[in-house]
């Protein structure tokens, strides 16, 4: 979608840039190296060289988090991440959350078997026990297969319910105990209620919605309420799985009801069906999973970038006075990470030759993976910040006030000419909107929104079937429906979706209904002052056009620079104290960086120095910050912003606490499937990978 007239990214035009390149050579190697890298990545067939463990830059402040399964529900750990004002805490928790997410599939299965198991213990039903066994085995096999494909070092013998395959780098240093933990799930706290959490509060009403329709429908039709026949397989599969657990869930309260063998068989058939579907999409999922793992690997360049971006975002979040600005910056970074990844050797190394993806498919996979690794850990914080900003500017209050006005208006006053959704439809809609709120991925949120819209259309056409309803019919009904939902949450959701969605989807159906929802909300906001409202709204919306325009040019600028923003950690006033992450561009000079520091640390008179191995290292004001960074030895450098009069040779001669744990030999970091196939020109490659 959204295919440009013009040829794609300007950056990789190797030939035309000959002269500028020559010029840039003097500027420092940052630029040159970057260009070369691009050339390599783009003109020559991508050498399937492994990503080189970044020599200098991986200065992960944290040792990898312990690997034990976090049993409290994902939600709570995310909340921790959100609150985490200290960066480390936040990161740590976020990582946990991520990891949990990573194992989602496994967990989901586990939960399923958990559910079954619980029932089993109640019913003493042998068949179920068997099935459960099989599930465990099946899972195990699948995992083994996966491991083989990745050709990573053999996992420790998985327990009956193995956890997600552990990425080699992390496994090594920390987690001798990890294989042990998966054996716990049989413990009491692993039973049914645990896993369902994110879905269950929303899902439960669904169950009640279904019950009047009779068990037969429930049993045979996968989510008949869900709208389109055109859902992606993934989703279908999820629905199936959810349905499955819902089925189990709906049964469990009636534990007294005896389970007949037919139901058990039905369960089994259902399970097999979902296995087949899983098989179909597993390649895609595996690729997504690998990207997520890469993004999580603090020793890879990409993972480091993601991590620093997160730290940067969390630190600077409160400094944004406008929500749009904040969200756009996050989206910006995601887009850059995406374009980096799509051109990177890291991704090329992950692709399996037997599975060709179209460019669009690949982009969507990368997008999904990035949502998971970038947005998911940030979601709670973003929402908190959004809420704070909109409470501050009175937007939410205004919305809440007018909500009651709209509620008190007749359908005629709202301009409704068709039927409005009945109670049962309203309930379904509110479930969809609730699901929407829970999702972290803008695309998935939009899917839920589309489902809600579909239900609205369906209810509208009850009064006059066959009539096509346009925006003039739909918008008033939308207002009617929204006024009966959680408006404030939706307001935040809409903003989240609009700013963070994949820009290539901005012309799609999802975008249209998102716009309509935005319009409905704006209209509700100004509803009671109809007359004067028009003008006022216009001005507001005009602003939004300007914002739009600005974003477009902004994006363009960034794209034409063809470079990804990088980050630097600076301490103040001495090594190891008060580290802050700053965003830098390849063109940022030390002087500009000092100015940034002055703003961030609120200290004008300080100066910026670089310490390498604890020794002060003079840097020229005109030097490029990134070339300094990439010129340093791994983890041995530290940028310090300190009072000017501090003697240069006085700093404590100790290693910077930000140093990464001693780097294990290179081989350990490289998953076997990324093994170097082509090792020529290692020097150039290495450098270029790092300083892109």
């Amino acid at each position: 979608m959204g295919l440009p007239f013009s040829p794609p990214p300007p950056s990789p035009q190797p030939l035309s840039s000959a002269t500028p390149e020559a010029e840039r050579k003097e500027e420092g190697k940052g630029g040159v190296v970057e260009r070369e890298e691009r050339k390599l990545a783009l003109t020559s067939p991508p050498p399937s060289r492994p990503p080189v463990p970044p020599q200098g830059r991986a200065a992960p402040p944290l040792p990898p988090a312990p690997l034990c399964r976090t049993s409290p529900s994902r939600k709570s750990s995310e909340r921790v991440a959100g609150e985490g004002t200290e960066r480390e805490k936040g990161q740590n928790a976020a990582k946990k959350a991520e990891r949990e997410e990573g194992g989602e599939q496994g967990e989901r299965r586990k939960s399923k078997s958990g559910l079954l198991f619980e029932q089993d213990s109640r019913d003493q039903h042998q068949a179920v026990e068997e099935e459960e066994e099989k599930e465990g085995e099946g899972r195990g096999n699948e995992e083994e297969k996966e491991d083989k494909v990745r050709a990573s070092p053999p996992c420790p013998p998985p327990g009956k319910k193995p956890s997600r395959p552990v990425p080699p780098p992390r496994k090594k240093p920390t987690s001798p105990n990890s294989p042990a933990s998966p054996n716990q799930p049989r413990g009491a706290n692993q039973s049914a209620p645990i896993k369902v959490p994110p879905a269950s509060p929303a899902r439960r009403p669904d169950v009640s919605l279904y019950s009047p329709q009779g068990g037969a429908i429930l049993a045979t039709q996968p989510d008949s309420s869900s709208t389109s026949s055109a859902e992606e397989d993934v989703e279908l599969n999820q629905e199936l799985e959810q349905n499955h657990s819902r089925l189990a869930e709906s049964r469990s309260p009636k534990a007294a009801v005896r389970r007949t063998s037919t139901t058990v068989m039905l369960d089994r058939a259902r399970y097999r069906l979902s296995t087949v579907l899983t098989g179909l999409i597993s390649h895609e999922r595996r690729l997504t999973q690998r990207i997520v793992e890469l993004a999580r690997d603090p020793f890879s360049y990409f993972g480091n970038l993601v991590k620093e971006h997160r730290a940067f975002t969390l630190e600077t979040m409160s400094s944004h006075s406008s929500s749009t600005e904040m969200l756009q910056e996050i989206r910006q970074m995601m887009t850059q990470l995406k374009s980096y990844l799509l051109q990177s050797t890291e991704l090329q190394a992950m692709l399996e030759p037997q599975h060709q993806y179209t460019q669009d498919k690949l982009e969507s996979i990368v997008e999904a993976a990035l949502c998971k690794s970038v947005l998911k850990p940030l979601k709670e914080s973003i929402y908190q910040r959004l809420e704070k900003l909109h409470t501050g500017d009175g937007g939410l209050k205004q919305l809440a006030q007018n909500q009651s006005v709209v509620l008190g208006s007749t359908t005629t006053a709202l301009g409704i000419t068709t039927a409005v959704p009945e109670a049962s439809s309203m309930e379904k809609i509110s479930i969809k909107l609730n699901n929407l709120h829970q999702e972290y991925s803008p695309q998935k949120k939009i899917e839920q929104l589309l489902k809600a819209c579909k239900i609205i259309y369906d209810s509208m056409s009850i009064s006059c079937p066959g009539r096509a309803h346009g925006a003039d019919d739909f918008l008033p009904v939308m207002m009617y429906v929204l006024a009966r939902s959680n408006l404030c949450a939706l307001q935040l959701d809409v903003e989240y979706m609009m700013e963070l969605m994949d820009p290539s989807l901005t012309l799609g159906e999802g975008s249209y209904y998102l716009t309509t929802t935005y319009g409905a909300l704006e209209h509700i906001k100004t509803f009671d002052q109809q007359r004067s409202a028009t003008r006022q709204l216009s001005r507001e919306v005009q602003d939004s056009i300007h914002r739009w325009e600005r974003r477009r040019t902004f994006n363009q600028e960034r794209t034409s620079q063809g470079s990804i923003r990088d980050f630097l950690t600076v301490c103040c006033p001495e090594i190891g104290a008060d580290p802050k992450t700053l965003g830098v561009l390849p063109t940022t000079t030390i002087q500009q960086l000092s100015e940034q520091c002055a703003a961030r640390f609120e200290q004008d008179s300080y100066t910026l120095s670089v310490y390498i191995d604890g020794v002060h290292h003079p840097v020229a004001q005109t030097e490029l910050a990134l070339s300094v960074k990439s010129g340093c030895q791994p983890g041995a450098y530290c940028f310090v912003y300190h009072p000017a009069d501090q003697p240069a040779d006085a700093p404590p001669r100790r290693t910077c606490p930000l140093d990464p744990p001693p780097a294990p030999p290179v081989e350990c970091f490289i998953p076997a499937d990324m093994a170097p196939a082509d090792t020529e020109e290692p020097g150039v490659e290495e450098e270029s990978l790092i300083s892109l």
Binding site: P9, D360, L507, E509, Y512
Partner: protein
């Protein structure tokens, strides 16, 4: 054989994505007719593909968003058609719909002088907000009711010319002039977009600028039972 990112990107240059937004339920409906068939096929063919998000088309129930594929001088063009709420009370929301569009279709009812005045207001607003980049179409609908015409052909056409728009005559009821309208608009939008590209030079301005949609705004007064005359279709 592995395709690199660049290779894959290149193969798409022949395809444009434009976005149209329009309101005329009358025009809409006849378009909807031939669309139904296609939508079903697309749905089946593109399952799992993310480019076109999962479609949630219902037959006939929704007429707010539609995509239409056209083949113009060998280029595949995908129109995203956005229906703008044209009612007076929603007028203020217009910009959020048309802000990214490449074109707009403004439909008036030839039997209703007032609707023509409203088209003029829309034109003014669109020119002010989006400048000359946007292709405007002014469409006199209901030419099957020519005996009741209240807006003269000359007046409408000279007005259209004065504001740099093109004028079309359609009858949604008889399905007359609509296909031509879309083809012609589409060509114009492509020309405009390409000229814009050339202006910016060396194609450096990637997707951003060209990713505007084509939008069509109609101002057929709600009171006019537009649906009445066409719902038979």
């Amino acid at each position: 054989m592995k395709k690199t990112y660049r290779d894959m990107k290149k193969s798409y240059i022949g395809q444009l994505y434009l976005c149209v937004c329009f309101v005329a339920s009358a025009v809409w409906r006849s378009l909807d007719e031939d669309e139904d068939q296609r939508a079903l096929q697309v749905r089946r063919g593109q399952r799992g593909s993310h480019v076109n998000e999962p479609r949630h088309h219902t037959r006939r129930a929704q007429a707010s968003f539609l995509t239409k594929k056209l083949n113009i001088t060998g280029k595949r063009v995908n129109l995203a058609i956005w229906d703008t709420a044209g009612q007076e009370r929603f007028h203020a929301l217009g910009p959020i719909y048309y802000r990214d569009s490449n074109g707009a279709i403004l439909v008036y009812d030839i039997t209703d002088e007032d609707s023509f005045q409203k088209v003029k207001n829309w034109v003014k607003e669109l020119r002010k907000m989006l400048g000359n980049e946007i292709c405007l179409c002014i469409v006199g609908n209901k030419i099957d009711l020519d005996k009741d015409r209240h807006v003269s052909v000359e007046e409408a056409e000279s007005y259209a010319e004065s504001v740099g728009a093109k004028h079309y005559h359609t009858s949604a009821k008889l399905n007359k002039g609509i296909e031509e309208l879309f083809l012609d608009l589409c060509k114009r939008m492509m020309e405009t977009a390409q000229a814009e590209e050339r202006l910016k030079g060396n194609g450096a301005s990637q997707s951003a600028s060209s990713r505007r949609g084509v939008q069509i705004v109609d101002d057929e007064p709600q009171a006019t039972p537009a649906g009445g005359c066409c719902s038979s279709g």
